[in-house]
Symmetry: C2
Subunit: 216 residues, 2 copies
DNA sequence: GTCTATAACTCGATAGAC
DNA sequence: GTCTATCGAGTTATAGAC
């Protein structure tokens, strides 16, 4: 047990990436220190530069990794073969779970993207496709089949994302305004896992007992 | 027209705060440079330290100002004397307008709060009350009067905030996934001003033509 | 109050031994 | 590959003239 900060039997390069991820996620590019990353990895600062040439390149590796695990995960959840209402429940539950296990991830991604959108996104040109096309198509089809009200699929997708992500990135504010401790906050979020799908489905479902429906 | 970066006839102290606000909002505490703030204010760096003793104190002034304009503004909108559905429309419209005019503000507040919740929030103990008590009470009353479905007021308030704020802080992502330019993004947000109230009201309104309602 | 000059320090990066 | 030692740029903060 010479160094318990990282699992044993991993290469120095892996140790660096693991530590860098943790530090960058928590403190952002500007707030992170190469020294701190090295310390956490249990290696020397010079080794960081040996494997990754600069702080910026190390950051790029961490950010690319974040986006390339986040986007496919969202897609995977949204591409599940489920009826629309079930999928909304399934997505909410699993996405919130993912975010709660990586508390710093959403603020990190949002903040760094805001700092430098073009620089960062230019690296994801042809590569991974960001558009949730399967989910969008499913919504469109549900509208067409009169299973749900007339709804803009793009807006509905952002609604779903908003309701899941915002409460987590606003954690400190929510704890303050509702006077919650850590445990109370967790309860609040768990309650949301139920509330969000109900809230969305209530909004878009077609009300069977009324005459003609859909807006306009 | 000796210096057009700031309005004339303002004291140096005011010029500093105005410039500091702009730089800190855009770049955060770690990313901001005292030199850049001084340049933008059109004064010397030493003067920053003359008026505000340190970078941290200057930042605190900017952050306190941000919270102390944001929170009362939210309260003011939520305390308007309007029926619930009208208020939801009124709030959405004006709050999104406010955020669009201060694009960097929400990410700034969220990010810095996440970096240092206890340090920052400890300064707002007795002072301004964060809880939107009037709005919460109004929702509770509407539920009691069977004007809307049984709804947790705390969750509904966060839903409203989520739907307004998230799309703005996720601007770079939304532009990417929907392939929008600046103008297209503005259209998307303007569309939301209509969509959000409809979305929320559809969800909570009691459906008149069906037998008995409310969950449970 | 406002400026110039500079001290004191932090941090990313590199040289060079092993 | 990994380390120690150190350079050099950049940053906050201050001393001191005006």
């Amino acid at each position: 047990m010479k160094n318990s900060k990282n699992p044993p039997d991993v290469t120095a390069e892996q140790k660096i990436l693991i530590s860098a991820r943790e530090i960058f996620h928590k403190k952002g590019f500007e707030g992170a220190r190469m020294q701190e990353i090295a310390d956490k990895a249990g290696i020397n600062k010079a080794l960081l530069h040996y494997y990754y040439r600069s702080k910026e390149k190390l950051f790029d590796a961490v950010f690319a990794e974040a986006l390339k695990t986040l986007i496919p995960k969202v897609k995977e959840l949204l591409d599940a073969e489920l009826p629309l209402f079930d999928k909304i429940k399934y997505f909410t539950d699993n996405y919130i779970k993912l975010l709660m296990e990586n508390m710093y991830l959403p603020v990190f991604v949002i903040y760094e993207l805001f700092q430098n959108p073009e620089k960062i996104l230019s690296k994801f040109t042809e590569k991974s496709n960001f558009t949730p096309s399967v989910f969008i198509a499913q919504i469109r089809k549900s509208v067409k089949n009169k299973e749900i009200k007339k709804t803009d699929p793009r807006q509905l997708f952002i609604n779903l994302m908003s309701l899941c992500i915002y409460p987590i990135i606003a954690k400190p504010l929510i704890m303050k305004i509702y006077d919650l401790n850590e445990q109370g906050f967790n309860r609040f979020i768990n309650q949301r896992k139920k509330e969000i799908p109900e809230f969305i489905i209530n909004s878009i479902k077609i009300n069977k007992n009324s005459s003609s429906n859909g807006k306009k």
